[in-house]
Structures are given as C-alpha cells and as structure tokens.
Symmetry: C2
Subunit: 144 residues, 2 copies
DNA sequence: AAAATAAAAGATAAAAAACTCTTTTTATAT
DNA sequence: ATATAAAAAGAGTTTTTTATCTTTTATTTT
C-alpha cells in the first residue's frame, strides 16, 4: 500500500505530535527509537517532511523536531502525497497508462469505489485525530 | 498497491483467458507482446501461476499457455495471493507487527473499512467477469 | 569566542524488486 | 529417430528501495 518510507513518515508525524504537546523538541534519535525506525533513514524522511513544511525543526542544542498547532491539521493524505507522490490518486491498478474513465481497464470501475473509500479515509484522518486516539489509551503505536 | 509482477500476472491471466476461448494455446512471446511485459520476466510469472494451477501449460510445438473452464473462476484475490502473498489480508497499514483488533494502531479501524471494500472487490471479481467486459468492447487492456 | 549539540547534506552500501540471458526439459511433427 | 518448438529452470544483471556512514552547517551554552 505505502512505501516503507511513508509508513515511517506517518509514524514519525504521529510520534512528534504526541511529544510536542508540551513545547518539547524531539531529536531524530528519540524518534527513531520511539517508532522502531533506522535512525539515519528516518532522518532523511524527517528532512523531507520539514522541507514540505509538515513539521518544523531547529538545529543545535535543545534542537529537534516539533509541531506547530497548524501542523496538527495535516491529513494522512498530505503525508502520503509528500513521500509517495500522488500515484494513489492517479495510477491505474493494473499500471496501465492509457486507463481512464473513457478508456477503462476491466478493473477500473470496481477499483474506483475502493479508491474513493481509501482517499476519503486518507483525507479525513488528521494527525490530531490520531493524537486524540493515542491519548485515549485505546490505540498504540509501538511495535511490541 | 500490487507489485509489478502482480500487475503483469493479472493482465496475463486476462489475456490468456481471452485468447483461449477457441482452444488455442498462447506462447509467452504473444502474451508478453499482448500486455506490454518483458518476455522473460512474464515467463517466470506464468510459471508460478502454472505451479499454483491458476492456468495450464504445455511444452513443445503448438504448446503454450491456456485455460480450462475452471480457471475462468479464478478471482483477482486468487491471483494477488498467488503472486504477492496475503499481506493485503494480514498486514497493518503502518507495518506494525503488533497491530490487531485488540491492540489497534491509530489507523486500524478506519483502514479496516477500506480493506473490507478492497477484499470484497478482489474476491468478487473473476477472470470470466473481465472476459465479458472485454468482449463488450467497453473495456481495454492495451496500454496505448 | 569556543565547545557542544543537533539537524542538513552528501556519499556509500545492502537488500529487494524488476528484468535479462542461457541451458535444460518435454512434447510435437517430420 | 531427428529436428524443432516451446515452457521450465537456473543463473546473472540492473534498478529501485531501504539503510548506513561521514561531513557540513546552524544554534546554543559556557
């Protein structure tokens, strides 16, 4: 569904959001540990998320990654698009370049419904939604 | 969504089904050309589909791939599972091994609905459905 | 100003996926 | 029987993705 990078990105965004409640900054090391991701790899992803302005960062002592209030409005779709591009929106399930509404592949119409549901899900779920869920204690991000 | 191999597999299955209406056998070369797939690569995939008994093959002159009536009942799900395994059924969207109904990740419940739709789609669409659609002339498999 | 800390950037390495080439096996036709 | 055709199998190669290591730049603290 998503690339590994994208999975990490989503987890990292949620993790940073959780941690930056009390104005704290989170280092790459903490994030990597917190979401079981390879440190230097997640660093690259965080850089990209920063470039795309989905979260903020500061260098130097007491630096790290953090979120402003606006960043909490980021949707899953924003993250997925930032890291994996918009192939979920555009590409044919069978990888046919010519596939379209007017020239549909045999799976097109059936997949359209699934895709609609997926996109709706991606666009309606935001980081602050996830935050609330985690705060409730009924959801988890840890892998073990 | 699916691996490249899996996309090819689906296209190949549909292509062979189309061609084996009149008892004909189709060579790897024809299939490769017909679905714009690299010849030796699709050959491997066809081998695997054969091993899993989703289609039939014969060696030698006038040999090639073909389908028996029963093979037309193959669902998209059968093909996807044969090539990509059942990660669509089992894996967490965020790649969390510990994610489950009892221990859900923040995306779990929302994704569950999407997944349900996807699986329904995969299981209810068969090769013969695609065949009929292609026969109607309103659907296409060619890439250009 | 100097030392320390942490992200940014760049370069390299390992693993997986996609693709290619060669040889072997099996069936058919002559 | 022999030659031929086509898949099966095996052994690479290339490309992409994932992961690691090193150097540079920015910020803070002393």
């Amino acid at each position: 569904m998503f690339s590994k990078s994208c999975e990490y990105a989503i987890k990292a965004m949620i993790f940073v959001a959780q941690k930056s409640k009390e104005e704290a900054r989170v280092s790459v090391k903490e994030i990597a540990k917190g979401i079981n991701a390879p440190e230097h790899f997640i660093a690259k992803i965080l850089q990209e998320l920063g470039r795309k302005n989905l979260l903020q960062s500061m260098k130097g002592p007491n630096g790290g990654f953090f979120m402003e209030k606006a960043d909490l409005k980021t949707s899953l779709s924003d993250i997925v698009t930032a890291i994996d591009g918009n192939k979920i929106y555009n590409d044919c399930v069978l990888g046919l370049k010519a596939c379209s509404e007017k020239n549909p592949c045999p799976v097109h119409n059936e997949y359209k419904e699934v895709k609609r549901g997926l996109i709706r899900m991606l666009e309606s779920n935001t980081i602050s939604d996830f935050n609330e869920r985690l705060n409730s204690g009924n959801f988890f991000l840890k892998n073990n």
